[in-house]
Subunit: 364 residues, 2 copies
């Protein structure tokens, strides 16, 4: 059962655990990125995999500084976005199941769809199904830039694939993309150096392909951690930024962004004087990269997470009783949001909006 | 979008990733446990948090050897079960939010509801709301038996709490419960020794309370790993077994049970000769305790998991191409099932049933 709180409910009266958004902070992050890209020729293409919510995608697009569309990592996510009025989607994963290719191609009749590819076999499958539907789909060659996931490995592979795609009739090569990561808490200089290094590979391949006559309107690369570097690299047309909006402790080093998205929990047991059990566990919050932080109190720390609850340690100076609320800030938001049905949006400790996470569970 | 496959679809034609159940193996596990408990005075109370599916709960109850009801870890799960005809639910977590207590108490008008408590404050809140609803709720005192989570710590605390509950009018003390875990891959003797040791604490408290005049119809303890030991300990009336039904690699040492539940995925990229990228990631499968196994092939191993994909290494003797399917067996099923909308049930490589996971996302 999905219990929707009334607008105007005080935060203390919310049923927990629940997923909350701080609206003031959300607007701060959104405005920061809009302002940044409004002054540049490259634009943000916000990643919908992070928030999975058309209400938010439309806010991002309306706010400005974007390409007017979103990224999605799954066909099912793209379906939710297109069904809710988003006009352009770049699907950032390779789609190889024939049923899923059919679903993607049906979408291409109603919106601009581009999809990542890294093999001729996949390009041919898409072409063949697009032919049946009498529609054209844009292909974006994915370039592997160090994560060891999908993508062609080098310029030769990219060129071969691009040449072969020329021979297909219902797909067009529209550009290149790559995905990168950086570990730890890099300083500004490290972020800039590392981002330039990996994105250079994409730009070199772009230059090679263009010298062979290819026209590549989309060069999509850059992430939240490199949103500022990638934006100014000559040739990059759009940036895939997801985490900047809702944030997570993994990106806490990016101090221009606020921690927007939290899980509100309640102390359900107080087994000892220095510990408490909270009704927020691994089912509610990602622990992919370490335990969540507790908002506003460094003297309360998560020491263990079970599927449905956490054990927190309590400092000497802290009083914490059964029924008290705590806000957990995730280390990583991506896998977490997908588990929830709604964002409860808070301003001045009061519910102002409830947004359905319409692409919740769109994991295939 | 939730795409339901047609009954009769061949497994090779399924859209992936999807959550599948092997029906022959499911029936093997279910029958094994039914037979086991049919011959004993203690009974299984299957944990609905694992499968979250009324279709399965009813099969378990109809099959025999149970108490005729289920465990649930959340009020929202209990709501789904009661709304779908389950007549008795033991809620195994402390419920302290007043809104959630109200929801639980409303359920008690339609089904037998018992709930874990470990503090007088919580018992009083439940009593006060039950009074408004004019209904009686059963309380089960939780005993902490080594996991460091909820529960009263010792016999004195249990006795104090039991005495205080006597003074309340709309709750009745119906019994005791505890939850335990065991690490690694214990042999039969270790399982028996360890289970007896922790359950003894519960039995001692039961004996103490009974000597003070308390009547305790429910002594609920034991898990999948101790289903056989707990069943024969004098005084235990019911066992909370969840994992035995769908199974997971963490319990692979319990060779009487089959691995029933898997994620079917597809190879979407083949970046190098010895690796492949599969469309199953951390969003789809729990990695709480290590990476999943690949069914039927030890020469394919998961080496890295991203939110939406995994990298697998491929042995020299294995051929694996884009479009090939792999089945991932989870290390732990509990947090995983909650992310999915449906179980696709397979017999002889063909879809025989599709069951909605109705308590999916019931995490609060």
């Amino acid at each position: 059962m999905n219990i929707k709180p009334q607008i105007g409910t005080h935060i203390n009266d919310l049923d927990t655990p629940c997923l909350i958004i701080d609206l003031d902070k959300l607007e701060t992050n959104m405005n920061y990125v809009s302002d940044f890209y409004s002054r540049r020729s490259s634009k943000m293409r916000p990643h919908a995999k992070n928030h999975k919510t058309p209400a938010i995608a439309h806010m991002q697009i309306n706010n400005g500084g974007t390409v007017g569309g979103v990224c999605a990592s799954k066909v099912s996510e793209a379906e939710v976005m297109v069904n809710n009025g988003i006009k352009s989607v770049l699907i950032t994963s390779e789609i190889v199941d024939s049923l899923k290719i059919s679903r993607m191609i049906a979408l291409a009749k109603r919106a601009e769809i581009n999809v990542a590819v890294d093999s001729l076999q996949n390009a041919k499958s898409i072409d063949s199904i697009a032919n049946k539907f009498n529609v054209e789909v844009g292909l974006i060659i994915e370039i592997e830039t160090g994560m060891g996931r999908c993508g062609v490995q080098d310029a030769d592979e990219a060129l071969n694939l691009a040449e072969s795609i020329k021979g297909l009739h219902n797909v067009s090569l529209n550009g290149l993309m790559s995905h990168q990561t950086i570990s730890g808490e890099p300083d500004l200089e490290t972020r800039h150096t590392e981002a330039k290094k990996v994105i250079e590979k994409v730009i070199n391949i772009k230059n090679l392909l263009e010298s062979r006559g290819f026209v590549l309107p989309i060069i999509s690369t850059g992430e939240t951690w490199s949103y500022d570097v990638a934006a100014d690299i000559e040739g990059v047309t759009e940036i895939q930024g997801g985490s900047y909006l809702l944030m997570e402790t993994d990106y806490a080093y990016m101090t221009e962004f606020q921690q927007v998205c939290k899980i509100l929990g309640t102390v359900i047991s107080k087994p000892t004087i220095s510990s408490a059990i909270v009704n927020v566990g691994l089912k509610h919050i990602s622990s992919l990269r370490g335990v969540p932080a507790i908002e506003g109190n460094n003297d309360i720390q998560v020491v263990d997470m079970a599927p449905s609850s956490s054990t927190v340690s309590i400092g000497d100076q802290v009083s914490l009783e059964i029924g008290d609320q705590l806000s957990f800030i995730p280390s990583q938001q991506d896998a977490m949001v997908s588990r929830w049905n709604q964002f409860i949006c808070i301003r001045e400790r009061t519910v102002e909006n409830v947004w359905d996470i319409q692409a919740r569970g769109c994991i295939s």
